[in-house]
Chain length 466, copies 4
């Protein structure tokens, strides 16, 4: 019935795979609408499916489907979601026709009643764990790794005094990246893997309750005040108006995904103590220092490239200007069939602003290059509209390696930086010069010295064995 | 998105809860379209959801959703269901908002690969079995009892040499009514409980393969030739073009639901050796013998009452005529809000044929009375259109007891025969006389002497402990 | 969005092209729901589009669309149709993709305010009239002939004292078949052409108002009591609770479409003083007298053939029985692509009832033969299910001529009776004998001697020059 | 079926009422897809309905509906629109439930065959003209003034040798604002009223044909090269590959809507010789000169306010920064019921970027203030996120007067500048200072001296009698 999802999306970027939310209000206060608002704020983390599950005195109601938050929920079905504890999820799908069963949260019944789970990350050993469970008689209804965690929790809970103890047991079994929200009949848990690959933070709601969100911008949307990040390895347990913390797995050197700062997260989010917007401004400045150029105007690829461009302009003193205008209406339903149409589609989504380009030497800033085709298209567009020179500056190092921690990057063979040796990249794009943020520069963009970050997609240095 | 299902449906009747299909063709022959045709033929057994799962070299594809067969499937999605083995299912939902997760077939992965199941019936001890499984760490994602069977099969399969052996093990654990189709990576199984509560039969397809269907009319629609019924207690295993039979659980006195003959099944189906149409004609004759009346015309409530009326007419020599015209277009979408509108709705669905009623003494035949409201409405309608007398003859005994074997009958407190003592029934309906088929008469309607039938909803005599 | 209409429909029949409704209640009483009920009852007269327009103190609101009545209207949009005067329409479309603009009623503004029109029939000289109007500067927005009438009314109204006088003027201009309902700011008119090709009748509502309907069954559905037919040539004007009649154009010999009795109209309708059901019974009897046969069972093609079959059985004393079971769920959404699938589709829509056929000599009664393909398919189906002989009896003469008065009959070259000489028809169908109702017999089926009927599609004798 | 349009839209702004497109390619080249791309580019000019009509050898096909371009068109229905001449339209609806009949283009048949029209503007004397037409017997099917033009054209064409002559005749009858595209069986016309209230321009397509568009950005999207603007008063006639111009009505002092530059048009459009982007930068500079302020950061309300903010920053040397982050996903489907939810909705659509606000004196630039509620909400949001001072600068004078030329401005009583005297505005908004662009400053923002502009909504000086 729904228009078919056209994946991969229009501008080729790596993809964050999920966003999670949790909320625990005082009894009698429905949380579905807050989760709905929060999911809107996290929609950029996943556009394939969305879901909300709420808990009303241990009775669970749930709505989830393929589609955008605004397509799935309406006044009527939100009103039917009665309950003061809740979990929300948005999901990115690697494949266009991923089954609806993979939508989250997943609600199951286990020995202690209902168990609801929403997850962002990637479990490295899920396949081996699944085989073990199958050998013991388990059945699986989806291809989602979250079902593996569900089974482990159910088994662990039999011999544990509490759901948090069961979680601890499971944390000794699973490896990889996971920022999860878990809802039991009476508790809401937030769990972050010991390396803290994916962000997760805690807020205080207007009603005196607690909220959990992948990003602080999700808390803003739920009208909740940011309290602090969930620590890597921490288990946070919320029950009534009490929040307790279990830090058995804390203390490791963290490996927060650096691409959250570069592209994934919203600029208005603050993650593990560092503002995303500020980081992007600093990246722009770094690029200006590392690759100075004599030019007339600095422009950014909307929307993400604009922050970088502002930083570059500030540092280089080359004036910032709008060079590309984004059409807000060319969404997923846009029809592109032939290659000519796809090329045209770039012009439709991003039109050039000729007055700012004609006869000018242009610095064009983008956050990353994945396949390179969009960048080449944009350079052609700018030159066709009068740009004398186009100098490309990219706010991240070249993508070279796959991610195993919850980011969807195309096959190595499609990666621009893998396909072309460094000296041929510029010519391949049709640019007049090209500069990538170097891996070294990353230490100068305002991140914390006393923290740790994963840049394996650029460096190949994986923080855990994969 | 879909128009909300308006349950209970228009004319109050008991409800069959499911229809199942299976098919195994030679490799390379897709079976989805055959299942689609078959589901159309079984649509009367369940209108809440429908699904098809097909097996292409052990890879399973599935489409299922809430709604009618014709709403769920289309040329495109049927074409995507590649595979030469398949399972189909239509489902009746007790509650209007039953979760989509309960739609069948259910496809799971267990230790030996995929496992697909479609079920018609009711497992008496599913709750106890579920508790045992939960205590061992199992998780459940729906409220459907079929998930319990899935778990049992997965556990049994670990210690069994074959899926059919696992099924045998499970048959020692589950009690109640079940006519199931099971698809493993390489086999298709048909399983019927030892009492044979629900029908299930085997056909031979044009392509030389085998088909399984709840009713023989389903085989006709799949262009398959009826071969024989699955015996109560039998496990039928189809692999390639070979059919083998396991009769470890055969030999008990059967308890086939007698209401299949009275109302559920299609008149063109033949169940356990007895034609449904013939039975209905015989019931009409029995009624004529048991409750003779001096009248001018015999009419039936369309569509099910017409067969009875023909039998009554034949035996009584009172001419048959059409007294009620059914509007084919007043489906589930019909809007009824107030009581006045509901009354009017009866007139819309069934209009009276005044020329056949005016000044006449009318015998009106229906298959059953559940709540009694529709019958009373119809009598009013007939009298308003000139009927001088209305004599009601019902092709089944009064409903008095709940069914535990897969039929949905309203709460006892809503049952007409429970609410009103026999002597007040006729007046309550506004009829001039009233006759129910007596439980004794059932032996005279053409059923088999050497078989067994369940009439617990009329007699309260349950064939197994409940 | 909507599933594409699959025309021509499943069983090939001629098509009635429209049904019309009107209602005038006391001020403050909304009529939309009554029209909605009435349209359900007239749905058989047109399934391509439906519409309702209501008048609230001269303010008109309207909802119309392609689709079935139950698909177009819902609680919300019906509630938005406030008004105590109203017009309803169902429409059959000759072409699958007829523009939505052709849906009726058509609401326009003319010199005296709003003008709403719903029409059933065919204006013979509409093309010439349109050309005249175009030459004077008129613009047309649809291909519907009703727009021509609208323009004529608007022009006529300038020089007329009342809308009824404008209608009289227009009746001198238009030729052909028209049963119309017209709503002006304060009046509701029912107009029937002088030959009365299409039916139209008047009822009295429970609320003391008046209702107009193509068939009396539409009045029943609106809970209105049948008062009388609109006379051929009559203009009925309803204003407040007053009904006046203008008979300037009455008195000609009528030419009511005889096919209304044979196939189009509901059996529970009474048209121009003759009951449709009775006529069908009499046709069955006539067939029995005209084409006696030694047979074991008389069966009818559901649903329309059943009445004929009952009549045939009564006259011939050959027992009636069900030989074909209709599947109620194979609607327009049924998928048929290849010829094999179309053949199979017949089996799905109509399954044979083998117990009534096996070894028997069968008389199969249908209302008409258009292309002949369905009949041939049914004969094959019956023989495959054991019928020893199949004798076809058709309740109408062979179709030979096009209809110019509002019925859609396929091109002459597709007509069975045109393609095959009489002596080859039986063999072509694969029947053992074949009998059509003769044109002469029509006088013996209970129609009125003092009335007139059009049978041009059989006889080629058109009642007006075409 | 479609989600109900929630009007008025989220951020209260005046509304452009339409966008028009035309294209004429060589025979055999379908134009539907080009129009589709062009409509995407003009979507900001109207989101209520959209339509395309194409001409294939004088046969017209059309698709139009309520909704966004991306919702209405798909691969299949675009492919069905065969034809080498075409017209496109997007429409803003003043009322949420405006009838579908008002969607454009409107296709009619008149004396010379088909006539298709798409219109942007407002005919001042349409009501009087309509009355005249009604008095002569015309009928109208919509409330759209475009139907009046259609009738006038049809009447005029009778006595004219060509459609362009008919247009000339009509231009002597109609008064007001109109930028129209007209398609006859063999010609495509572009017509702009003598005052040139609304923009309209001509392009040359890749295929050697001609294109017409409300804005030059529409030409870019159709891959057509901008040639020139249609002159105020000009009639452009395209036939085959020939473009001729009729300037009988040219030469008046133009009155182009100045709000096209301030808010309506895309920044990448060039209108009547002036770039929209440049104008907005200049407005920002003017504001900086007119209302200097000691501040730490200049921010704009996305998206339209950003250009102004860049200009302000450039002139004032106060650094530009992002202060508000726009959520791309909160479209029309966003649920807001209570006032609290509406306030929250502002936060969702625009979240504050605390790092850029905390402790800072902020200059916030927006294009206009209509009701003032959104501005007040934003100021609260900024202060809640740490802004020490918020200084509002508005890129247009205060709205005081209704527009009669195709812009939808709320009733006077709702206008902020009408409700509050100038000295109370700042306090009412909760701002620390407030400056509107003065009417005088408009001459310094880069517009043409030798042209004319309408600023009646600010000044009350209407360029024609209203």
């Amino acid at each position: 019935m729904k228009p078919q999802r056209k994946l991969p999306p229009f501008l080729d970027k790596p993809h964050e795979e999920c966003g999670v939310l949790g909320i625990y209000e005082k009894e009698g206060n429905d949380v579905a609408k807050s989760l709905y608002y929060g999911l809107f704020a996290l929609q950029h983390r996943g556009q394939a499916s969305a879901g909300i599950a709420v808990n009303n005195n241990a009775e669970i109601r749930q709505i989830k489907d393929k589609g955008l938050v605004g397509e799935i929920f309406n006044v009527e079905n939100l009103a039917s979601l009665k309950g003061n504890i809740g979990v929300g999820h948005v999901r990115y799908a690697k494949e266009a026709d991923e089954p609806r069963e993979n939508a989250q949260p997943i609600v199951t019944r286990y020995c202690k009643g209902s168990l609801t789970l929403a997850h962002n990350g990637n479990i490295l050993n899920s396949s081996a764990l699944k085989d073990e469970l199958l050998a013991k008689g388990a059945v699986f209804q989806s291809t989602s790794e979250i079902e593996v965690i569900m089974h482990l929790l159910a088994v662990a809970r039999i011999h544990s005094h509490s759901v948090e103890n069961a979680v601890k047991k499971v944390m000794t079994q699973i490896e990889g990246a996971y920022s999860m929200v878990i809802m039991s009949p009476r508790k809401l848990l937030a769990v972050r893997d010991p390396k803290g690959f994916r962000p997760l933070c805690i807020g205080k709601t207007q009603g005196g309750g607690y909220a959990i969100s992948s990003e602080s911008a999700g808390l803003d949307a739920m009208n909740a005040e940011f309290v602090r990040d969930v620590e890597p390895g921490e288990i946070v347990v919320i029950e009534q108006d009490k929040l307790t913390s279990h830090k058995d797995f804390c203390g490791k050197k963290p490996s927060l995904c650096i691409f959250e700062y570069i592209y994934f997260a919203r600029p208005d989010s603050i993650i593990d103590g560092v503002g995303v917007y500020n980081t992007r401004i600093e990246i722009g400045k770094s690029l200006a220092r590392a690759y100075p150029v004599d030019a007339d105007i600095v422009i950014g690829v909307p929307d993400s490239g604009l922050n970088f461009a502002h930083g570059f302009s500030e540092e280089s003193r080359i004036p910032f200007g709008d060079g590309l205008v984004r059409n807000r209406y060319t969404g997923r339903t846009f029809i592109r069939q032939t290659q000519a149409e796809r090329d045209l589609a770039v012009n439709l989504k991003l039109n050039a602003l000729r007055p700012n380009l004609e006869g000018k030497r242009v610095v064009l800033i983008d956050d990353s290059i994945v396949r390179g085709t969009t960048t080449a298209n944009l350079i052609r567009l700018l030159k066709r509209n009068g740009a004398k020179e186009v100098h490309i500056r990219i706010g991240s190092p070249p993508f070279m390696w796959p991610c195993h921690f919850g980011t969807d990057i195309p096959d190595k063979k499609h990666l621009f930086a893998v396909k072309y040796p460094q000296e041929k990249m510029c010519a391949q794009l049709g640019a007049d010069s090209l500069g990538f943020l170097s891996a070294d520069e990353i230490k100068n963009i305002g991140l914390r010295n006393n923290f740790g970050y994963c840049d394996a997609c650029f460096s190949g240095k994986y923080p855990v064995k994969v």
